[in-house]
Amino acid sequence: MFYIYCPYCAEYREEEEFHPKGQAHIARPLDPMATSDDAWGDYLFFRDNPRGVHHELWVHAVGCRKFFNVTRDTRTYAILETYRIGEQPSVTADSVSTGSAASTATLTGVQA
């Protein structure tokens, strides 16, 4: 079971209260009519499937019902951080591979 920190409720909640909603940070093309079929298809249907750090959208379905982002390691399922919509991740594949401060700092969303 995950014990997930909701950045809106500001506390850890049981996984049962949440639903995953797929990859995060997918920007809708600003001008759909001028977007090529390939680019539109990529936007609608194609998702990353990385081994390692992945950014996902989750919803606190039974709690505050807000969407938020989760950075998760697909190899271990470990949640590395959670952050609000509109914010950027502090843990990324790059920051983890270079061992920068963000990846070793105390991360919100992680319960030891």
Binding site: R13, E14, E16, E17, G63
Partner: protein, 225 residues
């Protein structure tokens, strides 16, 4: 004023209505009852949405309750309560018959601001669970940690309850309140009675709650645009 049509869903106390638990028989308290379950039917429930900066002063001046800005916070007044549900959503529960007047006053105070007020009274009901073992009944029913160190008086959460969900809030040391959906009220009540059986549980309808308008002469039905 916002251009929105709203009406009093229960325009006069003489209009008959049924609580979602009207069919459930009361269970009288016997010798060793450690939990008492009550239904507080026919309160008015208003769902308020908007930015806290927009709502706070209007809500406080109309209801007398300070808008709780901290997550999971609920404030209790005299027969009233106001609970944080999400960063832009609150649940206001007031005695039956007061909801429409409050809604009208809130809309007046908020003017053209960006907000929403929805009367959800018909969609949910308020239960209370009181007694030394109330917390044990809750522990059997929800995944949320109701330990007093984690769930102080004045806290309220929405979480999984049995196989449905409910708003759970702590009124004082041994008294808790649940807000359950109308369509799950029967299920939740039967669940609670089953969970409470080992401790001894009584079920009572709350003492007849006087409609705020019963004392005053009934006004004509109103529709405001």
């Amino acid at each position: 004023m916002t251009r929105v049509a709203y009406f009093d869903p229960h325009p006069a106390p003489t209009v008959p209505r049924q609580s979602p638990l009207h069919h459930m028989a009361e269970i009288a308290p016997t010798g060793d009852v450690a939990v008492t379950l009550r239904e507080h039917a026919f309160r008015d429930h208003l769902n308020l949405r908007g930015e806290p900066g927009v709502l706070a002063s209007a809500v406080e001046s109309v209801t007398g309750l300070a808008l709780p800005l901290e997550p999971q916070q609920v404030v209790f007044g005299d027969g009233t309560s106001l609970q944080w549900l999400s960063p832009d959503e609150w649940l206001l529960i007031v005695p039956g018959g007061e909801g429409f007047r409050l809604q009208r006053e809130l809309r007046k105070a908020l003017g053209d601001a960006h907000f929403s007020i929805v009367d959800v009274s018909g969609g949910q009901t308020l239960l209370s669970l009181e007694g030394e073992e109330a917390i044990s009944v809750l522990m059997k029913s929800t995944v949320y940690d109701v330990d007093p160190r984690h769930f102080p008086v004045g806290k309220g959460v929405t979480s999984v309850f049995a196989k449905a969900n409910a708003i759970i809030r702590r009124v004082d040391d041994t008294r808790w309140e649940l807000v359950v959906r109308r369509s799950f009220a029967d299920y939740c009540l039967r669940w609670l009675l089953d969970a409470g059986e080992e401790f001894g549980i009584a079920f009572q309808r709350a003492e007849h709650e006087v409609d705020a308008r019963e004392a005053a002469p009934a006004g004509e039905a109103e529709m405001t645009t």
